[in-house]
Symmetry: C2
Subunit: 155 residues, 2 copies
DNA sequence: ATCGCTGCAAAAATTTTGCAGGTAA
DNA sequence: TTACCTGCAAAATTTTTGCAGCGAT
């Protein structure tokens, strides 16, 4: 997963998991497959890149579910390891579906105009983490890295 | 500033600017040097690492100034380029004093237990930015990078 | 003396929680 | 049937704003 040659990842590779695969993950952990949860998973599944709570709400057909339910669902999905929470500077958290077994460690190139996202597959910072840990005495060093810029369409 | 050999920066190198130097920067731009602003600058000046709004408030002697004034001051100082705003995942923004002329581009190694911070002077990602820009067509590519771990004292 | 700054209070924005009723399994 | 889930409303957070009066220059 790490130490790869630089490459950008297309959306198809990580998204478009079938819905039943997702709901089965719920069932396996004895959570219920309800309307709101299916609707939210559909939205995450179909969208490329992390979505904010508001963006999810806007995409739900007129009040498929309550805002509180979205928050509760995102907490559940995060705790189950089905989504990963990101923070792109200011604004609330954003959530992105994770494939089963994926720890979600990857980075984004985010357009500061339209919030469009390109995913970056590889992570080059393993060596840097090790070096930092050695030099600073910290244990369990991890990192968060996001790139920002203006995408071709917005230029 | 960039492309340096890896090194950790001690606090002394970036903080401890004399207070008059800071207030003069306000005066030069025709802002007033008031009690709250001096108190806030003192706190930022004396503390190593970015502080949250709440941490600033706690350090102010019993209601040296109103919470709204802290928010307004941080906006002003940020707009003037005197502080830089950071986001370490969840929780509110954090602010760190900047030397005159410093664009504030640097990273941190943050202890997830005590929130202690080690600054990381160099930035290794210039090449990565260039590569990403070329490959993705994005312009003006920048990045945010923070490291997390458990510091020696908290282990 | 002037205009900017401040405290206070209210509002706005975001996230969490309690509770009674509904629903998946 | 039963435990979990949901909507609704209220509360808790965090940040912003309006306004009248004070204070740095």
């Amino acid at each position: 997963m790490r130490r790869k040659r630089m490459s950008l990842l297309t959306s198809a590779a990580t998204r478009k998991m079938p819905l039943p695969e997702l709901t089965n993950r719920l069932r396996r952990k004895f959570h219920k497959v309800t309307g709101p949860r299916q609707a939210i998973l559909q939205i995450l599944r179909r969208h490329h890149g992390p979505l904010s709570i508001k963006e999810i709400q806007e995409r739900l057909s007129d009040d498929d579910c309550d805002l509180a339910t979205i928050y509760r669902s995102m907490h559940l999905l995060e705790e189950m390891g089905m989504v990963k929470r990101f923070h792109f500077g200011s604004g609330g958290a954003r959530f992105e579906l994770l494939k089963e077994g994926d720890d979600g460690h990857h980075h984004h190139l985010v357009c500061t105009r339209c919030a469009g996202v390109v995913e970056i597959e590889e992570c080059l910072l393993q060596d840097v983490e090790n070096h930092l840990a050695r030099r600073s005495g910290f244990k369990g060093v991890t990192h968060k890295l996001e790139f920002f810029g203006i995408c071709p369409r917005c230029q």
